[in-house]
C-alpha cells in the first residue's frame, strides 16, 4: 500500500533521513519508533506531502508523492506533531471546515460518527482553546478521521498527556487500527508495543530495526535467562554444571525453608529447560518455579539507539 524507496531528506547540510526503505501493507498498524530528532516526523511529513524528499521515492497506492500529491492527500488522515488546531474556532466550526475541505456530503452523519468515536460529547459547541489537552488531542484525531481515510498517520499522539488521557487515547488508537492502515510515531516504547503489529526503529535517519515485536526481541536475545526455585541442598546445586553442558549459573540465593533461587543462563539456540528439569527430577529436588526472563523491547531499543548514537 505504501512503499518507500531510498528516501533521503536534507535540511541544508544536516541529513535528517538517510536512505530508508520500507513497505506498509494494507490494514497494518506500524509503529515508528526512535529517539527525538531521529527523523520520524520528517519521514511522516514527506509521506503526507508536506515536505518533498531530497532523493528517493514514496508511493501510496501507486500514486507518487511528487506527481499525484493531491490524490495521496485525499487518502490520508494526518495528525501532525504537537497537534496544531485553530484555537479560535469552535469544535463544530472546525470539524465543519475540515468536512467541507474533505468534500463530505453528509456532514451531520460524519460529525455524529467522530463525536461518538472520539468521545467529544458535550464539547462540540465550545471554542477549542477552552478544552483540556486530552480533549484537544481528541479533536485533532477527529479531524484526521472525519473523512474515514484509508491511511491514518498520527505523529506522537500521546505526547504531553496525563496517564489517564494516554490510556484513553491508546484505546481509541487501537479501535481505529481495526479498520485502517495506521502509522504511529513515538519515542515511547510501551506505546508502540501496546498498539502496533510491526515496529520500525529509526535512529539518526536510518532504519536500525524492522519487524514484529517478537522478531525484534528474539533477534537481540542470544542468551536466555532462566529462573528456577527448588527445594534442595544448597551445596548440591553446582552439580548441575557437571551434568548439563553449556550452561552458566549466574547466582544461587538461599531463601527460608530450604528454598533456593537459581539463575541460569544458556545460549538461546539450544533450549536447556528439558535437561534441567530431568536433572532436578533425578536429584529428587522439588521444583517450585521455573520461568524464562523475557528481554524487554526497552533493552533492544536502548541498545540500538545508543550504540549507533555513540559511534558518531
Amino acid at each position: 500500500m505504501i512503499e518507500i524507496h531510498n528516501l533521503v531528506k536534507d535540511y541544508g547540510t544536516l541529513r535528517a533521513v538517510d536512505h530508508i526503505n520500507f513497505e506498509i501493507n494494507e490494514g497494518e498498524i506500524l509503529g515508528f519508533l526512535g529517539p527525538n530528532g531521529a527523523g520520524k516526523s520528517t519521514t511522516l511529513k514527506m509521506l503526507t506531502c508536506y515536505l518533498s524528499p531530497t532523493a528517493g521515492n514514496i508511493s501510496v497506492e501507486n500514486f507518487n508523492v511528487l506527481e499525484n500529491s493531491r490524490e495521496i492527500r485525499k487518502l490520508i488522515g494526518y495528525l501532525p506533531e504537537h497537534n496544531p488546531l485553530y484555537l479560535d474556532l469552535t469544535v463544530y466550526d472546525y470539524l465543519k471546515f475540515v468536512a467541507e475541505v474533505r468534500e463530505l456530503k453528509d456532514f451531520k452523519t460524519s460529525l455524529k460518527n467522530v463525536v461518538e468515536k472520539c468521545g467529544l460529547h458535550g464539547v462540540v459547541s465550545q471554542p477549542i482553546n477552552t478544552l483540556s489537552k486530552g480533549y484537544k488531542q481528541r479533536v485533532g484525531i477527529a479531524q484526521a478521521i472525519i473523512h474515514d481515510p484509508k491511511i491514518l498517520i498520527l505523529d506522537e499522539p500521546t505526547t504531553g498527556l496525563d496517564p489517564n488521557q494516554i490510556t484513553e487515547i491508546r484505546e481509541l488508537i487501537k479501535e481505529l487500527g481495526k479498520e485502517k492502515t495506521l502509522i504511529i510515531s513515538s519515542h515511547i516504547l510501551q506505546e508502540v508495543q501496546a498498539v502496533c503489529d510491526r515496529i520500525i526503529i529509526i535512529n539518526n535517519g536510518k532504519i536500525v530495526a524492522n519487524g514484529t515485536t517478537d522478531e525484534l526481541k528474539s533477534s537481540f536475545q542470544n542468551k536466555t535467562k532462566l529462573h528456577i526455585e527448588v527445594i534442595a541442598n544448597e551445596d548440591e546445586i553446582p552439580k548441575m554444571l557437571e551434568h548439563i553442558n553449556n550452561i552458566d549459573i549466574l547466582g544461587i540465593t538461599p531463601k527460608e525453608d530450604n528454598i533456593i533461587q537459581v539463575g541460569i543462563e544458556y545460549s538461546s539456540e539450544n533450549d536447556k529447560r528439558i535437561e534441567i528439569y530431568e536433572f532436578i527430577k533425578s536429584q529428587k529436588w522439588i521444583l517450585l518455579e521455573m520461568h524464562r526472563e523475557h528481554i524487554s523491547l526497552e533493552a533492544v531499543f536502548r541498545n540500538l539507539t545508543i550504540e549507533d548514537g555513540g559511534s558518531e
Binding site: T54, P80, H82, P84, L85, D88, E100, E103
Partner: protein, 237 residues
C-alpha cells in the same frame, strides 16, 4: 469543490470571531468619515475627492493590519501543516486568504456609501462617473496592498514582522512619487511608473486607463505569486 472559497469563508469567519475586524472597520470609518466631512462644507462641492485622497493613506496601516496574521499565524501555530496536507493547493490557500482580505475591505467600503448618500442629498449635479472610477481605484488599490500584505505574512511566522514588512513595501511604493526630485533624470520614468500614487491619480480624476489597471493587477498577481512560491519553498529539496 471550490477550495479557494472555503479558505476565504474560514478567514472571514475568524476575522469576525475576533476583535480585529471590528476595530479595523471602526477606525477606518472614523478616520475616513472625518476627512470626508470636515472639508465638505468649507469647499461646498458635492464630491468624494477628499475621501478618496485619504483612503490610500489609511490603507497603508489598515491593510497590513488585516493581512499580517493571515499566513504568519498559521505558520506559528503549525496549522499550516494541517492546511497544506489537506488536498488544497498552496495557491488556493493564498488566493483564498486574498479574497478574505479583499472582502473585509469591501465591507468597509460598503459603509462609506453613507458619504455618497450625503453628497447625493446635498449636492446638485453629482459626477457619478468620477465616483465610480474613484471606488474602482480604491478596490484595485486594496487588492494590490492585500497581495503585498499576504506576501509579507508568508515570509515570517511573526505577525509584527509581517506588519512592518508590508507597511514598508506599501509605504515605499506610495512615497516614491513624492521623492522623484532626488532621483536622477534618466531613471525618473521608471520610478514614477512604479509609484502607486501616480497610477491612482487617474482613477481619482475620473479616468480609467488600462495602463493603470494593468499596473495594479500586475502588483496583485506578482505578490500573490511570490507568496505562493514562499509557501511552496518548504518543498524545495
Amino acid at each position: 469543490m471550490n477550495y479557494t472559497k472555503l479558505i476565504a469563508n474560514k478567514e472571514l469567519k475568524s476575522y469576525f470571531s475576533s476583535p480585529t475586524a471590528y476595530i479595523v472597520l471602526v477606525f477606518f470609518l472614523l478616520i475616513s468619515g472625518w476627512f470626508f466631512t470636515s472639508p465638505l462644507f468649507i469647499n461646498n462641492i458635492a464630491e468624494l475627492a477628499s475621501f478618496f485622497n485619504i483612503v490610500p493613506i489609511i490603507f497603508i496601516f489598515f491593510i497590513p493590519a488585516i493581512t499580517m496574521s493571515l499566513i504568519s499565524k498559521e505558520k506559528n501555530a503549525g496549522t499550516l501543516e494541517i492546511l497544506t496536507t489537506f488536498p488544497i493547493k498552496d495557491s488556493e490557500i493564498v488566493i483564498g486568504k486574498f479574497w478574505a482580505s479583499l472582502s473585509l475591505i469591501g465591507i468597509g467600503l460598503i459603509f462609506t456609501v453613507v458619504h455618497l448618500l450625503t453628497i447625493v442629498i446635498l449636492g446638485t449635479n453629482v459626477d457619478f462617473g468620477a465616483i465610480f472610477c474613484g471606488y474602482l481605484g480604491i478596490i484595485v488599490l486594496g487588492a494590490a496592498y492585500s497581495a503585498i500584505g499576504i506576501f509579507a505574512s508568508s515570509i515570517t511566522d511573526n505577525q509584527i514582522v509581517a506588519f512592518i514588512i508590508s507597511f514598508f513595501i506599501i509605504f515605499f511604493l506610495y512615497i516614491i512619487n513624492f521623492s522623484l526630485i532626488f532621483i536622477p533624470d534618466a531613471i525618473v520614468g521608471i520610478f514614477q511608473y512604479l509609484s502607486i500614487s501616480y497610477h491612482l491619480s487617474n482613477f481619482f480624476r475620473g479616468v480609467i486607463d488600462t495602463r493603470n489597471v494593468i499596473y495594479f493587477l500586475s502588483i496583485t498577481i506578482l505578490f500573490l505569486r511570490l507568496a505562493t512560491i514562499t509557501l511552496e519553498s518548504r518543498k524545495w529539496k
